[in-house]
């Protein structure tokens, strides 16, 4: 075990034990079990039908022309479009808000609370709110657009509007969380750095670029990664707002995210093995995204 010089101290391990137990039970075991059943034709209700199929579940997802191929990669494409169109806004808007609220102006506390408030609502609530705003029969947005003589698109049932509604709802819902983290990090930046900048004649924009941003980098990396992962996990908003519609002629829906596809495959259909294989592929893609992100930022340092 340990060399005689240092006595093994078990107490710290006892402290992490409760979390470790929950981690193993609810994250560790399911992860490896998921990996395991992805090699089986698996249905938890029909043990007699559970057979080892090797890499078949993965190969099916890479066989063009098959139903699973189209449905899975369509939902993957939908999810990627969502990630690419939501993450920049979910970084830039909270960063801007945090910068504005990190000043000594009156009322900043009220604004902090207001911007953070949507985050405490559940996904179902915000989806319903935005559904009411966007829906076509007397919905708030089209009512006012119509009153102003502007075009009134079918927000929830035509593309690209259906995707836009989901992105807008998500930004409004989650931007407050990122904003609070940015704000906390900004308040850790020593005031004398800005003081020195001011003495050297740097204007507000220059102070932001040369002082705030570089010192925010570790937090920025963290937020980009957690936001990308959160966006990959998109599920509730399209389920409630568009139900994955509009449908596409080759199969799948134009706003059907990959998490909904996995749920359908594993719980609506009896293919938990195939659903597990899909989850593994999504996990690999998410890890690749995170790794690239880490590399990019480390490279700049």
């Amino acid at each position: 075990m340990v060399t005689g010089k240092r006595k093994f101290n078990g107490v710290p391990y006892l402290f992490i034990l409760p979390h470790l137990i929950f981690f193993i039970v609810f994250v560790g075991y399911p992860f490896f079990n998921g990996l395991y059943i992805s090699f089986f034709n698996y249905d938890y209700l029909r043990p007699q039908a559970t057979t080892f199929v090797g890499l078949q579940n993965y190969m099916d997802l890479f066989r063009p022309g098959s139903v699973k191929y189209y449905e899975f990669w369509n939902s993957m494409r939908v999810t990627l479009v969502f990630v690419v169109s939501s993450v920049p806004f979910l970084i830039l808007i909270p960063l801007g808000l945090a910068t504005l609220l990190n000043t000594k102006l009156p009322g900043t506390n009220a604004f902090r609370a207001i911007y953070f408030a949507p985050w405490v609502l559940s996904c179902a609530v915000i989806s319903l709110i935005w559904w009411w705003i966007f829906q076509s029969q007397g919905g708030l947005l089209n009512y006012y657009l119509g009153a102003l003589g502007l075009p009134t698109p079918r927000w929830l049932s035509t593309m690209p509007y259906a995707m836009i509604t989901i992105v807008v709802a998500t930004i409004w819902w989650t931007m407050g969380y990122n904003m609070i983290i940015f704000l906390a990090a900004m308040q850790d930046i020593p005031a004398d750095l800005y003081e020195a900048g001011r003495v050297d004649g740097a204007n507000a924009w220059q102070r932001f670029i040369y002082i705030t941003l570089p010192l925010l980098r570790p937090v920025l990396v963290l937020i980009i990664i957690t936001t990308i992962i959160a966006s990959f996990n998109l599920l509730g908003q399209p389920m409630m707002m568009t139900r994955g519609d509009p449908r596409l002629p080759n199969g799948g829906g134009a706003t059907e995210p990959v998490m909904l596809r996995i749920f359908t495959e594993g719980f609506v259909r009896p293919y938990q093995g195939s659903a597990a294989a899909m989850s593994v592929i999504v996990a690999i893609i998410m890890m690749a995204f995170s790794l690239v992100n880490f590399r990019l930022f480390r490279h700049q340092e």
Binding site: P18, R154, S157, T158, T242, D245, R247, P249
Partner: protein
């Protein structure tokens, strides 16, 4: 420090004891004493989380009041089939459960339901009291798995005030009347017939397909056949009606919300919308009636709630006997259920004076004789997925190639059907 650690440990111990107490607690049963079953407790699950729930609750209360030896506890929940299948995995299924007709074979093959042939014979419930389609939906691989409770058909809702304003006293019963009314009431801010690009257009398509003489699948459910000439006619008719009389690209429920504003003459949706868009639900004379016959033969899309016995590792004969009494009671007293916006499946109940007094259910009821149900094949609802995509895509305008979309969907459905045959096999495992 140390004492705090002990406190934490002690708390953990208490919590774990409590948790195990919750999980392992077995409700004491009074049936252990010889032949007498004593008071039998039954768990009864259903998906009635909407306005129909209280009507079912009334029936359960009435049953409990009149049967002192049986105590039924009803649980209504959403995300219903996920609940059922996970309960099956944990062997915590209820004693009686509602299952939709098209889900019966799937749940039978997935070891959620068990056959009830002997019990049905004892109950004295017979096929002759039911329309053929709805009764056959409960038979899987030669065994009876369910008893039909109700039939919920596609229904036509119309704004009687608007119809009157255009000189129409009665709702349409055929294609000519339907188009005449729709045409007369389209324009000037009105729509003759609103139809969406999502739910329930797949169901409307199925209905029109049958009306034009087609079917979704061949008889044994091995092949999709909706890309027939009848299928193309059906979808073309829907697309034409949308182009002439409906707003384009409506999302799910938008046709109902538009109807409620009083600017739409007719919509088609499930009978369960009665409370929402007729009577007190709207500020005009909103009414419901049977859908018209558009094609050469009459056909009506419908679903059906069926009563089933879920699987248990150890079957308790006392509970089965009590479940049989309860199921028979629900079927015979389904007039109460009809008030919630359903049509009783049993012809004897539909013929009763009590049911005939319930409107508009009574005047919609004759249409359930034309209801059709999918072949009794496990996973058949999966095979409907591509059909929903094709019909939704055409109605939403993401494609204009009707034949191509239906062909493509049929091909994908055939692949799903073949996969399902491989995984499910020929018959459910006998429990």
């Amino acid at each position: 420090m140390k004492s705090r650690l002990w406190t934490v440990c002690a708390l953990l111990l208490v919590v774990s004891l409590l948790l195990s107490a919750c999980g392992g607690a077995a409700t004491p049963t009074s049936e252990a004493t010889g032949n007498a079953c004593g008071v039998v407790e039954l768990q009864y699950w259903n998906p009635f989380t909407g306005p129909d729930g209280p009507f079912m609750g009334q029936m359960v209360d009435a049953f409990n009041a009149s049967h002192p030896d049986i105590k039924v506890t009803m649980t209504s929940q959403g995300e219903y089939y996920t609940q059922l299948t996970t309960a099956a995995a944990a062997d915590t299924l209820p004693d009686v459960a509602i299952v939709h007709a098209d889900q019966v074979p799937t749940q039978a093959f997935r070891n959620v339901l068990r056959p009830m042939d002997a019990l049905v014979a004892e109950m004295g419930i017979s096929a002759s009291d039911y329309p053929v389609g709805v009764w056959n939906a409960g038979e899987v691989a030669g065994h009876r798995y369910s008893i039909p409770l109700d039939i919920h058909p596609m229904t036509m809702f119309y704004n009687a005030d608007l119809l009157k304003s255009a000189g129409f006293e009665n709702p349409p019963t055929n294609a000519e009347e339907f188009e005449a009314i729709a045409a007369a009431l389209t324009g000037n801010g009105l729509q003759g017939f609103d139809i969406t690009g999502g739910f329930p257009v797949q169901q409307i398509f199925q209905q029109m397909l049958h009306q034009f003489g087609g079917t979704e699948f061949n008889a044994d459910g091995t092949e999709a056949t909706w890309n027939s000439e009848a299928g193309v006619k059906a979808l073309q008719w829907m697309k034409d009606m949308q182009a002439r009389y409906s707003e384009p690209n409506l999302e799910v429920d938008a046709e109902l919300n538009a109807f409620k504003t009083g600017t739409v003459a007719m919509v088609w949706n499930g009978i369960w919308q009665i409370a929402n868009i007729t009577g007190d639900g709207v500020e005009f004379d909103g009414r419901a009636t049977a859908v018209p016959q558009i094609g050469p033969q009459m056909a009506v899309w419908a679903g059906s709630h069926q009563l089933t016995l879920p699987v248990h590792k150890t079957v308790d004969p006392c509970k089965d006997q009590a479940a049989a009494v309860f199921i028979k009671y629900l079927v015979e007293n389904s007039v109460t259920w009809a008030k919630g916006g359903q049509i009783p499946a049993a012809a004897s109940v539909r013929a009763s004076a009590e049911f005939k007094a319930i409107e508009p259910q009574a005047s919609i009821a004759p249409s359930v004789e034309y209801a059709f149900f999918p072949p009794s094949v496990p996973g058949i609802t999966d095979a409907f997925g591509p059909l929903g995509e094709a019909v939704g895509a055409v109605m939403n305008g993401t494609t204009s190639d009707i034949k191509g979309a239906l062909d493509d969907a049929a091909q994908r459905a055939n692949e799903i059907l073949a996969q399902n045959r491989t995984t499910y096999g020929a018959a459910p495992q006998t429990p």
